[in-house]
């Protein structure tokens, strides 16, 4: 194996693969990045039995072959190389990497011990990469981190002919995002649950490159949907999916609301962050509002206390509601909109947070996203 490749292209490709490598591999070969050359193209692969990543790029290659080297080390080396062409050559049990006058010799691991990457399932449609990345970020924030409830650690993707939906919940809040996509097939109905971290990493990496992302799921008629794949411009990744499905989250969304509070999202976020400095972990941020404005308070009788007022639009009975500070802040940033719209049904019941425009000139669409959070309750 012998090849020459552009430094930037290589750095990008290696970084893409390296991020899916396990930190503590169950077998040593899984810490490796597999370099292989076929037909003048270099493919770099990483796999941890849950997530696989593969990137293919054009290189000038003298001979085909493959080599397995430490992915982390390769990524660090390539990142630090000067902007000159990089030559890579397999020499016996080593890989020689030269760039300008810099020269590295890396030991290799046995290629034959490396597991075969799962095949990419069949493509079912495409979605705008940047929009998909934003949507995943908006929903993954509500996913749980408690491994005893594995279902809650996933983001659920629902693919239908009319749209793509992402849903997540940790039981205390939930997020739902609906967006457009272009299905290849007119009557596809697939629901699958993907580990939130794997999906976030993939969507972010693909989103940064723009263009479209192809979504791939195995044919449901051939058994369960055991994995899911995403691909864009020479890159592909597959992830195992989680067992089970989220509870029917949409049914928790109220059809009608009794009152609505509108407030500048960034301003409320800044106020909430400031005031919650006195709120110990697990404690509450209290919002009280009426037509005159909104007051955010935290802290208690004997502890440190803080309060701050800000303008709001609200017409209804004066109201009080208390939130976990982090859950509120997560929601305010997830709506990614200048205005935060809180919709209420009854005191103590879940509150729906959506994004809105602040000015008429704003032509962005903030629809399709709902973040619902359960207020704290007081019981004496």
């Amino acid at each position: 194996m012998k090849l020459r490749v552009d430094r930037d292209a290589l750095a990008d490709a290696v970084a893409w693969t390296a991020k899916s490598l396990p930190v503590r591999p169950s077998v040593p070969v899984l810490a490796g990045a597999l370099l292989s050359i076929t037909d003048g193209r270099l493919t770099i692969s990483g796999f941890d039995y849950e997530v696989s990543s593969q990137v293919t790029l054009d290189v000038s290659a003298d001979s085909s072959g493959s080599a397995l080297v430490s992915g982390k080390l390769l990524a660090e080396i390539v990142k630090a190389l000067p902007a000159k062409p990089v030559d890579i050559a397999a020499e016996g049990s080593h890989v020689e990497l030269t760039c300008g006058s810099a020269r590295f010799t890396l030991p290799t691991m046995p290629v034959e011990d490396y597991p075969a990457l799962p095949d990419m399932p069949g493509a079912v449609g495409t979605v705008d990469a940047a929009a998909f990345a934003a949507a995943v970020a908006q929903t993954a924030v509500a996913a749980g981190k408690d491994d005893t409830l594995p279902t809650m650690t996933g983001v659920q993707i629902e693919l239908t002919p009319s749209g793509l939906s992402l849903l997540a919940t940790d039981r205390y809040r939930m997020a739902i995002k609906d967006l457009d996509w272009r299905p290849d097939d007119g009557d596809l109905e697939v629901t699958t649950l993907i580990p939130a971290k794997a999906l976030s990493d993939t969507a972010k990496a693909l989103g940064a490159r723009g263009g479209d992302v192809t979504i791939a799921v195995p044919d449901a008629s051939a058994g369960g949907v055991g994995m899911v794949g995403f691909a864009a411009a020479g890159r592909r990744t597959t992830s195992r999916v989680l067992d089970g499905q989220l509870p029917p989250l949409r049914s928790l969304l109220p059809a009608t609301f009794a009152a609505e509070l509108r407030v500048a999202a960034a301003e409320l976020g800044a106020v909430a962050r400031r005031v919650s400095l006195v709120a110990e972990r697990n404690s509450q941020l209290r919002l009280s509002f009426d037509s005159d404005g909104l007051v955010v308070e935290a802290g208690g009788a004997e502890d440190a206390k803080a309060s701050e007022g800000l303008d709001c639009q609200y017409d209804g009975e004066p109201m009080k509601v208390a939130f976990n500070p982090q859950y509120l802040l997560d929601g305010l940033s997830a709506i990614s909109a200048p205005q935060a719209v809180f919709s209420f049904t009854q005191p103590g019941k879940p509150v729906v947070l959506t994004g809105g425009r602040l000015s008429e000139d704003d032509t962005n669409d903030y629809g399709g996203y709902r973040y619902m959070l359960q207020p704290l309750r007081f019981d004496s």
């Binding site: 408690d146 005893t148 697990n282 309750r377």
Partner: protein, 419 residues
């Protein structure tokens, strides 16, 4: 319940009638508490050796009255050993409901004399009476009165140590047991302390005592004479300084009224090792309910659930998991504990324990419900059970899976009420 008292000589360094000027701290320890409560309600047992504890094969003595101790029976001793040493003893299973009732009543007596009461366990407390002199007299007269009242109201005896520091007060009560009152005058602290064996020092167990013995240090007085640097190699830097301070009778700890527990836990040792998953699950459920009830009673919630698993060969495993939200609900505790147990257990289990850690005050009444959680959920159910338990005793309401085959649905009252 306290450790075996260091073998000490009675001396004139402490006693009931000594000068208590500057002594504001009382350490009160019930004598053979569980056994005394049993005797109080069955006076005919008074003259006999009474041993309370687990009566099964693997039971351990929880309390033995002084009559039983004459036969060499001590707390924490395996029950089989106790039975061998004292076959004529009266052996009783513990009735924690009764003990906790008496304990509460006794603690309430303490609270009449000072607001500064720090309970150490069901049968032991520190009192700071520095503000009580004008109302109730000197520390030793308060101690005498408390002893009289506890005996008159509950038919049990206690021993009180009176001193200027917690450490000395506790040592004094240990030395004066049973049914005693001991004042260690401020001027007499070193005279009292220095002849005691090193194991009298708080923090010195068997291992440290052996290490100190290798340095030729057997009494507290000998420790006091050695520069702390010389102790470091044996006990470490922090412990060396600590021992040196104690050896000179210095103990800055104050009586803490709100002692925040670091964790709440419970464990059970099985009669025979358990392998059946459903039996383990029942044990975990019972422990989870118990721990959650204790947490609620203490007004705390915890984020970390830990389990302890001991196999037949005494290999002990500890596993824990931290939750996104603190909980004091038995059902949540059970779910997480069971996940840990299922993922860990690979052999028959001798002992299993459930513990709630990372405690914080239970949110001043605020808590995070789940999305769409009904206003009255498991939490309310468990709180209602708490109320019923407080009124009617433990076991009146219990998860159906914890009912045994002999639990009939007839309204006979709680199955654990034996009195």
């Amino acid at each position: 319940m306290s450790r075996t008292p260091p073998s000490a000589r009675r001396s004139d360094a402490f006693g009931p009638g000594l000068d208590d000027t500057g002594c504001h701290i009382l350490h009160i320890d019930m004598d053979a508490f569980f056994a005394s409560v049993e005797i109080a309600r069955r006076p005919e047992l008074a003259s006999r050796p009474v041993i309370v504890g687990g009566l099964g094969n693997r039971g351990v003595v929880s309390a033995a009255n002084y009559r039983a101790r004459e036969f060499g029976v001590n707390s924490a001793m395996p029950m089989v050993v106790a039975r061998r040493r004292c076959p004529q003893g009266v052996y009783l299973p513990p009735d924690f409901t009764a003990y906790s009732r008496v304990s509460k009543a006794v603690m309430a007596v303490f609270a009449e004399y000072t607001p500064k009461v720090e309970p150490l366990s069901v049968d032991e407390a520190f009192l700071d009476v520095s503000g009580s002199g004008r109302l109730f007299g000197s520390a030793s007269s308060i101690a005498a009165e408390i002893r009289r009242r506890v005996s008159a109201d509950h038919g049990i005896t206690c021993t009180v140590g009176v001193a200027a520091t917690k450490f000395i007060a506790k040592l004094a009560s240990t030395q004066a047991k049973p049914d005693g009152l001991a004042v260690v005058p401020v001027a007499g602290v070193l005279k009292f302390l220095h002849p005691l064996p090193v194991s009298a020092l708080w923090g010195v167990g068997e291992k440290t005592a052996a290490g100190l013995a290798r340095l030729g240090l057997r009494t507290v007085g000998e420790i006091a004479q050695v520069p702390p640097e010389r102790l470091r190699a044996t006990v470490g830097r922090a412990a060396a300084a600590h021992l040196h301070e104690l050896a000179w009778g210095r103990d800055p700890r104050r009586v803490e009224v709100t002692r925040v527990d670091k964790s709440v836990g419970a464990e059970v040792t099985f009669e025979t090792d358990v392998a059946a998953p459903e039996e383990l699950a029942r044990a975990v459920l019972a422990l989870a309910q118990k721990v959650a009830a204790r947490a609620r009673r203490a007004g705390v919630a915890g984020r970390t659930v830990a389990v302890k698993i001991r196999y037949g060969d005494f290999t002990t495993l500890n596993r824990s998991r931290t939750l996104p939200e603190a909980t004091d609900v038995g059902r949540d505790l059970y779910r997480v504990a069971m996940e840990l147990v299922t993922a860990t257990v690979t052999a028959p289990v001798r002992l299993i324990g459930v513990r709630l850690e990372g405690l914080s005050p239970a949110g001043d009444g605020w808590y995070q419900p789940r999305l769409g959680e009904p206003e009255h959920g498991w939490r309310d159910l468990e709180r209602t059970v708490d109320d019923l338990t407080a009124r009617f005793g433990g076991g009146v309401v219990t998860p159906a899976s914890l009912l045994g085959p002999d639990d009939t649905p007839e309204p006979k009252g709680g199955r654990r009420r034996r009195d």
